[in-house]
């Protein structure tokens, strides 16, 4: 029976010294903005959702904060779009589920760079499926597509 104690003691220890709140949050909005548009100043365009990135009065692009569901829980992510409507960067800000965290892989997210509203953005076509994170990858691809359409379709 001491076996259980041997196994659960490290867990109890780890919990009691657990990291500061929200360790599962990988990036804050501000950090993600700085990564996407280094040195830019940000102006909010739509409350809590869209920011314009500028540097010296020149438009660098837009930073969009969004949320899709993974398998059960929401994934917070951000899409940075350059003025021509191409994806500059996609970042996962917060991933809450126990499985499927592979969508955070930089190599997977890099596939979105350069995509436009005209791209298929379909898992299995221009975006790789992630085995074990099927729903998360599908939903992020759909989310990016929605954002690009919201941007690209504007004023046309």
């Amino acid at each position: 029976m001491t076996r259980w104690i041997r196994w659960s003691a490290p867990a109890a220890l780890a919990i009691s010294i657990s990291a500061p709140a929200h360790a599962v949050q990988y990036l804050s909005i501000a950090q993600a903005q700085r990564q996407a548009f280094p040195g830019a100043t940000f102006a909010e365009v739509q409350g809590g959702r869209v920011w314009k990135a500028e540097s010296g009065g020149r438009l660098l692009g837009y930073f969009v904060f969004d949320r899709v569901i993974g398998k059960h829980l929401y994934i917070d992510y951000a899409v940075s779009v350059d003025p021509s409507g191409r994806v500059r960067r996609v970042d996962i800000l917060e991933y809450r589920e126990s499985y499927g965290g592979e969508v955070r892989s930089p190599s997977w997210l890099a596939q979105f760079v350069g995509k436009t509203a005209g791209s298929a953005l379909a898992v299995g076509q221009d975006i790789r499926n992630i085995s074990g994170a099927t729903l998360s990858s599908e939903h992020i691809a759909q989310g990016v597509k929605r954002i690009l359409l919201a941007y690209g379709g504007r004023g046309r």
Binding site: I5, I15, P20, G48, K52, G101
Partner: protein, 588 residues
């Protein structure tokens, strides 16, 4: 029992003081860091208990100020528009700080000046600071979405500020919003932030040879399983998850219901998310981390109607047990899980014949083996209820999952399971009634899935091997049945090739077809037999499965399947068990 309590109490006493100190330290750190942490959080996140009232108050004031600022901007903007409309001079009244309208009109996306741009703070994350659930920005967004026409749209040829507004729907998660991904069964928003209910299930139908009827072909239908998946993020870092499963239509007592299925808790656990590298899953009912399909067994994860053959015996999926584990991500594309669980047990008989003393029924009543050369480990799962496990052993399992960044489309895993003993209490041989001693069990699995980039091809492969510590103590080798004996090991391997064809758009979604072929070989009766039985295996334990068919995905959440399976064994007189099956699966 009292011994156990004493041990626990001692352990608690020993651990309590340093643990308390750590807890206090942790809480202090939390308290100090919470302000900073929340400053960068998303708006829908509920306040944590560590947040102080003063901070709440100041953030509420900030929020109020921001709302007022936004309202002021809006009034100014509307005034400007009104003026502009009255004067008939388009785009003359763009707010201060915005680029000239002409420039924006020239942009390919017709991006106009943005009304609040000039005055909105550059500290762009500020609106997200208020962790109060429904902060001002979200309200503004809701308002904008609800009344898209509120700002009067100019009719002149040159777009003004309003045409350039992003009108994204408000964020899902607590607020009524427009989203295609709904937390409640994919159809509704959750009334409680953090709560979601998913589901998966599968229906099988078709014809199969019934070995019990001498291989006669029989048509049939099976409401194989319907599973509800409630998940609740109690806090962002403490997450509840469960799978509530109804198999074969469910269960009932009345004769007119004709139900002989199950209702079971297939999973229930609470996760404590700490850091990326280390998280704890509290004791609960959990899946054993072996292979891929045991943990990812939704019907959209495989293409045959039935689960892959290696998971029907060698790996007794859905293999679940009372368990606790640690897991985390070590590096990009590399994650692990280590789990302690209640051991497999070599008892395959009805639950009811266990005695109240938690032993097998006494000699000479006899009992069916949990591990055998005909069914592998299919009947060896430990019960998950009522302290009715038949031995004291705790098994250890570990899994390493990898999807290397340098090899896009590739994912694989290696996993292992070890239990020091599978022999149930009171086990005996059926010939002399002598007690059976302990026998350990080790399992090793390695598998990969490779979706070759830029092609439709997908390859999967797997090898699983089971080793028994002492076959002389296995019930199958001592049950007076000379045909179901087990050697020192069992093993199986499978290879699968599939091709993904896009079928185009039909009734509003893009369809995909996936024809596949899978070959599986398994040998459940290797050499190394020991025990009191006569040993005359018929060759039934050596099996080859040829499975071909296709899966059609109308959307990624739904699959329609058809598969044909031919089974060959080395037993020349064994009745056939081939099948032609259709299936419908869903997962959302």
């Amino acid at each position: 029992m009292s011994g156990l309590l004493n041990v626990n109490a001692r352990a608690r006493r020993r651990a309590s003081r340093p643990a308390l100190a750590r807890l206090l330290l942790g809480t202090t750190i939390l308290g100090v860091s919470a302000g900073a942490a929340h400053a960068i959080d998303d708006p829908s996140k509920p306040l944590t208990t560590t947040e102080r009232p003063a901070e709440q108050a100041s953030s509420a004031t900030e929020q109020m100020l921001r709302r007022m600022q936004m309202m002021e901007q809006r009034i100014q903007m509307l005034e400007a528009q009104l003026k502009q409309k009255q004067q008939g001079t388009p785009s003359a009244a763009a707010p201060a700080g915005a680029p000239p309208a002409g420039k924006s009109a020239a942009s390919p996306f017709k991006l106009g000046p943005l009304p609040s741009a000039g005055t909105a703070p550059a500290g762009a994350s500020a609106p997200a600071t208020a962790a109060g659930g429904a902060p001002a920005p979200a309200d503004a967004a809701t308002q904008a979405a609800a009344n898209p026409q509120t700002p009067p749209r100019p009719e002149g040829p040159t777009p003004t500020a309003q045409t350039a507004l992003w009108h994204l729907p408000p964020l899902p998660g607590g607020q009524p919003g427009v989203s295609s991904d709904k937390p409640l069964l994919g159809v509704a928003d959750s009334p409680v932030p953090g709560l979601s209910i998913g589901a998966y299930g599968e229906i099988h139908f078709g014809a199969q040879q019934n070995p019990a009827a001498g291989g006669q072909w029989q048509a049939g239908f099976d409401a194989r399983r319907v599973v509800l998946l409630p998940t609740y993020a109690i806090t962002p870092n403490i997450i509840f998850n469960a799978e509530i499963e109804f198999e074969h239509g469910g269960s009932a007592f009345d004769a007119d219901d004709k139900l002989h299925g199950t209702a079971e808790i297939e999973q229930v656990w609470i996760d404590f998310k700490m850091v990326d590298q280390f998280n704890w899953r509290a004791p609960g009912v959990d899946l054993i981390p072996i292979g891929y399909i045991n943990q990812h067994h939704e019907p959209t994860q495989f293409y045959s109607v039935r689960r892959p053959e290696l998971y029907l015996g060698l790996i007794p999926s859905t293999w679940k047990a009372g368990a606790s584990s640690f897991y985390g991500t070590i590096a990009d594309g590399l994650s692990y899980q280590v789990q302690a669980s209640m051991s497999l047990e070599d008892f395959g008989d009805n639950f009811d014949v266990r005695t109240d003393a938690n032993t097998v029924p006494p000699f000479p009543a006899g009992y069916a083996p949990g591990i055998s050369g005909t069914d592998a480990l299919a009947f060896a799962q430990a019960p998950i209820g009522d302290f009715r496990q038949l031995n004291n052993a705790v098994a250890i399992a570990g899994k390493l999952d990898f999807s290397p960044p340098f090899m896009p489309g590739f994912a694989g895993s290696v996993s292992a399971y070890y239990t020091p003993n599978t022999t149930p209490r009171g086990a005996y041989d059926q010939v002399f009634g002598n007690p059976l001693g302990q026998s350990s069990l080790a399992m090793f699995d390695t598998e990969f899935r490779y979706r070759i980039p830029d092609t439709g091809w997908e390859l999967r492969g797997e090898v699983v091997r089971v080793t028994f510590g002492n076959p002389a103590n296995l019930r199958a080798n001592n049950d007076s049945d000379p045909f179901n004996n087990v050697g020192k090991t069992m093993w199986g391997t499978s290879g699968e090739v599939a091709y993904h064809f896009p079928l185009g758009t039909f009734i509003g979604s893009s369809w995909e077809a996936v024809p596949f072929f899978r070959y599986t070989y398994q040998n459940l009766q290797m050499s190394g037999f020991a025990g009191t039985d006569l040993n005359s295996p018929t060759g039934f334990g050596e099996q080859r499965f040829y499975t071909a068919g296709f899966a059609i995905f109308p959307t990624p959440q739904v699959v329609l399947k058809a598969s044909y399976q031919r089974i060959k064994t080395n037993d020349p007189v064994a009745p056939g068990a081939d099948s032609v099956l259709g299936g419908v699966g869903f997962f959302f």
